[in-house]
């Protein structure tokens, strides 16, 4: 039994697994596919959009910075153009000009200086005491000697603070002089630092050597990352966009543009995850939806299939039960046929044996045997043969009545009347066994079609069995009738010792008896069974040890019409 359960449950699990696999393939896979395709498309267009956006941003800032620098250069150029070396060599005049510039542009211009061709500052206006400083070795000065305009890289210089120089060279009568201005680093730095997008987007400027020209917001090591590649690339594009894996911060997106005629590189960098956070969000939401959807689908499928499997199992169980019943009925039919054959064949030899015994008895009456000393014993033996012969006859008769066709006339029977009649018949026996018979009969039951004698036989048999069971201890028998849809139910309940469950299964089998040898033939209930089946009805039994037994017979109101009617013989 346990093995069977186990096998069934594993079969159930297999069933569920198979079906859930199918459900997954046909419901979740399309979901994943569609979401995947949509997400892929979305990602592509989103990346494009983000790239374009960042590109535009960097381009705009590049223009901003370029124009800032050009403007400053323009201002210095303007001053150098309209004032002479002598005018500007006057420190008071120079100071005036610085103030004018600072009034116009704020503290962007830190100081102004005029340097002669030998690199010696001849005039200075500004907060530092840099008069007569020598710039002959400074890069920007060397540069200024070669070119007319110079915007230097950011450097610490003599004053020890980051700054850069905007210088313009003029020549007066073959003599060279340079007007230089220091641009406030902070003001310039702000220009770049203000480029902030998302949480990780920031910008900075590198010079050709990869030195910082502005202070990057986050740690950046110019030797690492794609900066050098970007610096060295000679693309025609105004803006370059690359994405690169970085061991520290994961995937980064880099947008770069050259400034100051290719001297400087504006680099904007942002973590890809941050830049594409909208996509990441969409991805996360859709993954969650897919997961929840899948879980929901699976859970629902699991529940549905479990129910289905349960139903199937139930149906299977019912089918098996029905099969068992059919087999049982068939078995009884075969046994019945066999019994009928045996009964016929046995009856004749038994009749002959009894006749022969009778003949011996007749002969014993003659004079010569009368004196025999064993005459009494002979008589007893012959009587026994006769008795046993009669017992055989009884058995064969019962067998035949179990197996025979409906020979009794079908007539209308009022079951309640029949029961009352039978109770009267059994009353005497019940009194001796100290059993009381009670009945609760439903009034107005319809008449049923059946053989009076057969129904009588069934009821009498059941009552007699109950009486037999309670012969020793006494008890009660309750007979109930009621109408249940299209059949009448008759219940015969006793409170006797009950029937062991092992016996309960075999109770309707012919020759199965628990009574002592010679007391019962084991045919009573199988006859009842045969009769009820022929009627198209049913007989069932429930029993609890020490509590009692209930026999329930169902008699259909309409006479059963079917092939089974003549099942036996």
């Amino acid at each position: 039994m346990y093995n069977g359960e186990k096998r069934r449950s594993s079969y159930l699990m297999l069933f569920i697994k198979n079906r859930i696999g199918t459900v997954l393939i046909f419901s979740v896979m399309p979901l994943i596919l569609v979401s995947g395709i949509i997400l892929y498309q979305f990602k592509a267009s989103h990346y494009e959009k983000i790239h374009a956006h960042l590109g535009t941003l960097v381009k705009k800032h590049k223009q901003n910075i370029d124009s800032f620098l050009n403007e400053k250069l323009g201002d210095i150029h303007f001053i150098a153009e309209i004032y002479s070396f002598h005018e500007l060599g006057n420190e008071t005049f120079l100071k005036e000009k610085l103030e004018t510039l600072q009034q116009a542009y704020g503290p962007v211009f830190v100081d102004l200086g005029v340097v002669n061709s030998h690199g010696v500052q001849v005039a200075y206006a500004g907060p530092f005491k840099l008069g007569k400083a020598v710039y002959s070795d400074a890069d920007w000065f060397k540069e200024a000697m070669k070119r007319e305009y110079v915007i230097s890289d950011v450097f610490l210089g003599l004053r020890g603070l980051p700054h850069f120089i905007v210088a313009v060279r003029k020549s007066v009568n073959g003599d060279q002089w340079v007007l230089r201005a220091t641009i406030d680093f902070a003001a310039f730095n702000d220009l770049v630092e203000n480029i902030r997008i998302g949480e990780t987007g920031f910008a900075f400027i590198l010079n050709k050597e990869g030195d910082f020209q502005t202070k990057p917001l986050m740690d950046v090591i110019p030797e690492k990352g794609p900066y050098m590649d970007l610096l060295e690339s000679d693309t025609k594009e105004e803006v370059q966009i690359v994405e690169k894996e970085d061991e520290l911060s994961g995937n980064n997106i880099y947008v770069s543009a050259f400034l100051k005629n290719g001297d400087w590189l504006l680099v904007y960098q942002q973590k890809a995850s941050d830049a594409f956070s909208a996509f990441t969000k969409a991805l996360r939401v859709s993954v969650i939806i897919i997961i929840l959807g899948s879980i929901g689908t699976i859970a629902l499928a699991f529940v549905r299939f479990k129910n289905m499997a349960h139903h199937m199992e139930k149906a299977e169980h019912e089918r098996r039960l029905m099969n068992e019943q059919i087999i049982e009925t068939g078995k009884l039919a075969v046994v019945g046929e066999l019994a009928a054959g045996v009964a016929h064949e046995i009856n004749n030899p038994v009749a002959i044996m009894v006749e022969e015994a009778g003949w011996i008895e007749d002969l014993l009456e003659e004079e010569e045997f009368k004196e025999s000393e064993n005459i009494a014993e002979f008589r007893r033996a012959l009587k026994q043969i006769n008795t046993q012969g009669k017992r055989c006859k009884e058995i064969t008769q019962k067998l035949l009545s179990f197996a025979r066709k409906t020979d009794s006339k079908i007539q209308e029977v009022q079951i309640n009347e029949l029961i009352e009649e039978i109770i009267t018949l059994s009353a005497q026996r019940a009194k001796f066994s100290n059993v009381t018979i009670g009945c609760q009969l439903q009034d107005g039951l319809p008449v049923i079609q059946g053989a009076h004698t057969e129904l009588q036989q069934v009821l009498l048999n059941l009552i007699n069995n109950a009486l037999d069971a309670m012969e020793k201890g006494g008890g009660t028998i309750d007979i109930k009738t009621r109408l249940n849809k299209d059949h009448i139910v008759v219940e015969i309940a006793d409170n006797g010792p009950g029937i062991a469950s092992a016996n309960l299964k075999r109770i309707f089998e012919p020759f199965f008896t628990t009574k002592p040898v010679g007391k019962g033939t084991g045919l009573g209930l199988s006859i009842c069974y045969g009769i009820m089946k022929r009627l198209g009805g049913d007989i069932e039994v429930q029993s609890v040890i020490d509590k009692g037994t209930i026999f329930r017979i169902n008699i259909p109101l309409k006479k059963y019409i079917g092939e089974k009617q003549d099942l036996i013989m």
């Binding site: 009964a343 016929h344 009856n347 004749n348 038994v350 009749a351 002959i352 044996m353 009894v354 006749e355 022969e356 009778g358 003949w359 007749d362 012969g389 009669k390 006859k393 064969t396 008769q397 019962k398 035949l400 009545s401 025979r404 020979d407």
Partner: protein
């Protein structure tokens, strides 16, 4: 009353033989036969048979068919059906066809004797009535009455 003249019909030879001995011991005239066909022939030859003890279940002509034929040959002869069959229906059918009574096999010899005597009485009473009727007829014909 003369001893009843009984014919036994059964395909079971040992049964017939033993019953023959027992009935003869009870001072009956007994004629054993072993099939329906034989019984009908013998009944034709022995018009004075009073009672036939007839087994219902026999190969060839069965009890009911034999009974019908016998009633044609000699309607006055009484027939006691002997049945091993638990079905009372056959016996009842037999009685409708004119059988005197039926007995279940194996039967009590005393019961059989009783039935045979009753049947013989019946038959002879019947014969008596017929004889009387004939006498009356003869007398009226000859103008005695």
């Amino acid at each position: 009353m003369d001893k009843p003249f009984v014919m036994l019909v059964d395909d079971e030879t040992p049964f017939v033989e033993t019953l023959l001995k027992r009935l003869e011991k009870r001072e009956l005239n007994v004629l054993p036969t072993f099939s329906g066909q034989e019984a009908i022939e013998k009944l034709g030859k022995n018009r004075n048979i009073d009672v036939v003890v007839l087994d219902v279940k026999m190969p060839g002509l069965d009890g009911i068919e034999t009974l019908k034929e016998m009633k044609k040959v000699n309607p006055l002869t009484e027939v006691i059906m002997l049945t091993g069959h638990a079905t009372v229906e056959t016996a009842i059918e037999g009685m409708k066809l004119g059988a005197f009574d039926y007995l279940m096999k194996p039967c009590d010899i005393e019961k059989l004797m009783q039935k045979v005597e009753e049947a013989t009485g019946e038959k002879r009473a019947h014969e008596e009535k017929i004889r009387e009727a004939r006498v009356k007829e003869a007398m009226s014909k000859h103008g005695v009455a």
